[in-house]
């Protein structure tokens, strides 16, 4: 082909400039869209606490899939199921055509999340394991989902509650720490150990977790150890509709412990079993035990 250098030379330069601008603009948009683009519309939650948070952030209509164990709030039970926490069905997740899958580090398999990413699925990993890290996690979630305002409200609520207890704590520093034994299940005796949200709540309120020396999160506990180092209060969490009846046996076995003898036994719900919006209620419940 023949080029008429003369007349086209000027246009070439112009073209190149145009092309450069186009590329730069595309580049900006290319980066910007993921960061500032539309928040996810079809979310799959692979953990019950995430589901609860999504409902609290008022984005429940964007949820397209939950696990078999997502039972709170009631409405969550009507969402399509994709399997368990440790063994969700990849097919079920993908067939829902989500644009965001949310997982936790505590209960979901890492390989599953890696697999999702290798299939070019957008994922969000909930990393907080302790109450102290919860507010900032809430904020990240909020900005990702485009509901930063609501997330901020929740986070502030939590921070205020935490700060309040902290200040009360420093005032009562001189008090001897009371020991709490948090019973998850009475027969066999399973308690909350040190690496749990329950432990966070207990220490936050200025008390000591009787079972803090156990190495695992929910250890099967020695009855003798309870007798040797008796707690001041036994808290029994709700693992079953009729915990009072179920716990009769263990309380009788532990009748020698002052807490059991004097009825320093408190029944609470399962608010502290998940790192979710109900932890505030959980802390309040725990506090109420001592009043």
């Amino acid at each position: 082909m023949t080029l008429n250098h003369g007349s086209f030379a000027h246009t070439d330069e112009h073209c190149i400039e145009m092309k450069k601008c186009l590329v730069i603009i595309c580049f900006i948009i290319g980066i910007a869209i993921p960061a500032f683009g539309e928040p996810a519309k079809r979310i799959v939650s692979l953990a019950p606490n995430i589901t609860e948070i999504l409902y609290a952030l008022n984005v429940e209509d964007r949820i397209v899939g939950v696990t078999n164990f997502c039972d709170f709030p009631e409405a969550a039970k009507t969402k399509p199921r994709i399997g368990g926490m440790s063994n969700p069905s990849l097919e079920a997740v993908l067939s829902l055509k989500p644009d965001l899958v949310m997982v936790t580090t505590d209960g979901n398999a890492r390989q599953f999340e890696e697999r999702l990413r290798s299939l070019k699925m957008k994922t969000y990993v909930f990393r907080a394991r302790h109450i102290a890290d919860f507010p900032s996690e809430l904020r990240s979630m909020g900005s990702l989902l485009g509901v930063s305002k609501k997330a901020e409200i929740l986070a502030r609520e939590l921070e205020t509650a935490l700060a309040k207890r902290k200040s009360e704590l420093s005032r009562e520093q001189s008090m001897i720490q009371k020991k709490i034994l948090f019973v998850i299940w009475p027969d066999p005796l399973i308690v909350a150990g040190s690496n749990t949200v329950i432990n966070d709540a207990i220490t936050m309120l200025g008390y000591e977790n009787s079972a803090h020396r156990a190495t695992s999160a929910y250890p099967k506990y020695s009855l003798e150890a309870v007798l040797q180092e008796p707690p001041d209060m036994i808290v029994i969490g709700k693992g079953h509709p009729d915990m009072k009846k179920l716990s009769e046996g263990i309380l009788q076995r532990l009748s020698f412990v002052p807490a059991a003898k004097n009825g320093a036994v408190c029944y609470v719900s399962d608010n502290l079993y998940r790192l979710g919006p109900r932890v505030i209620n959980g802390i309040e419940e725990l506090e109420a035990c001592f009043k």
């Binding site: 164990f69 440790s86 027969d187 399973i190 190495t215 099967k220 003798e224 179920l246």
Partner: protein, 321 residues
């Protein structure tokens, strides 16, 4: 010679019982009893050690009897699927949150499960009015696989917490032993033991073979059935008291045969004492090693038992019982 060995075994059993009672996890000596110590000793440790001894007795004797009636050195209560059936029903109860009998729910379910699977195995092993060793063994192994598969299915669809509790029970849990459970355990295990002892001669001739047993004036079918019933009673009681604890039924008869010979009239009581002592010690370890946590007793017996089993395998006369 035998008298010395028997005396030694009796002393050893008493020593094991006392060690388990006083030594772990914290040493409590009988002469330094404070109120807490007394409480711990009487309400927690004593029932627990008694249950451990009873369970060990039941498992040891069941192993000895089964190895005789099946003429197989690898037979033990677990091979016959009695405990897998019990575990399946118990797991169903644990995961289903069934609590109609309060704290006795799971033991009762386990007992029923054991009786049901024992009955099933017995029925499948019957032919022409009698229990046949080969059929019994095959039926037991087959049912054991089936129950284990169902159990695995159940566990795979359960939530983490239920799964954990079910597994803790399955791997042997003596932590909730209390005085209430002991009478029932005692009745079933002692009846089973008495029945087995009364058929000890029959067990001896069954080992010789059905035809020789008949020649010596015994009815092989009837004796095998009675002995199988004794095993069913003892195993069901043992599993319902504290879950699945392996290796004792398999190994204790071999160990006792080494010291006392194969005559069932000695082997049965020896396996009873040996099994009881072993489980007392295993339970002592299970509650002392990882304080304040407890590891399942079944794990301890497996850790002790498996290497010993492999060692026994290297000896040349392992094929003979």
């Amino acid at each position: 010679m035998f008298q010395i060995k028997i005396l030694f075994l009796i002393f050893f059993s008493i020593a094991a019982f006392l060690c388990a009672l006083f030594f772990g996890p914290k040493i409590i000596l009988p002469w330094t009893l404070g109120d807490i110590e007394k409480e711990i000793l009487l309400s927690i440790r004593l029932p627990r050690v008694i249950v451990a001894f009873l369970m060990g007795t039941a498992l040891g004797v069941s192993g000895a009897v089964l190895q005789g009636i099946l003429r197989n050195p690898l037979a033990d209560p677990y091979v016959l699927g009695i405990s897998s059936g019990a575990s399946l029903v118990a797991a169903l109860g644990i995961l289903g949150g069934v609590t109609f009998l309060g704290n006795s729910t799971i033991p009762v379910l386990a007992f029923l499960g054991a009786m049901m699977s024992g009955g099933l195995v017995g029925m499948m092993g019957m032919r022409k009015g009698g229990l046949w060793p080969e059929r019994l063994l095959l039926a037991g192994v087959g049912l054991s696989f089936l129950f284990s598969a169902l159990l695995m299915l159940l566990l795979s669809i359960s939530n983490d917490e239920g799964l954990r509790r079910a597994l803790l029970w399955i791997f042997g849990d003596l932590s909730m032993s209390d005085w209430d459970r002991i009478p029932y355990g005692l009745i079933f295990i002692l009846s089973g033991l008495a029945l087995a002892m009364s058929r000890a001669k029959a067990l001896n001739v069954l080992i010789l073979g059905d035809e020789l047993a008949h020649s010596l004036g015994f009815s092989p079918k009837r004796e095998r059935l009675l002995l199988f019933i004794s095993v069913g009673l003892m195993t069901a009681a043992a599993v319902s008291l504290g879950g699945m604890i392996g290796f004792i039924g398999l190994l204790m008869p071999h160990i006792m045969r080494f010291f006392f010979g194969a005559d069932s009239r000695l082997l049965i009581p020896a396996s009873a004492l040996g099994g009881g002592s072993l489980l007392c010690i295993a339970d002592l370890l299970s509650r002392s090693v990882l304080l304040p946590q407890e590891i399942p007793a079944g794990v301890v017996t497996a850790i002790i038992g498996a290497p010993y089993f492999l060692y026994v395998l290297r000896r040349k006369d392992v094929l003979s019982m």
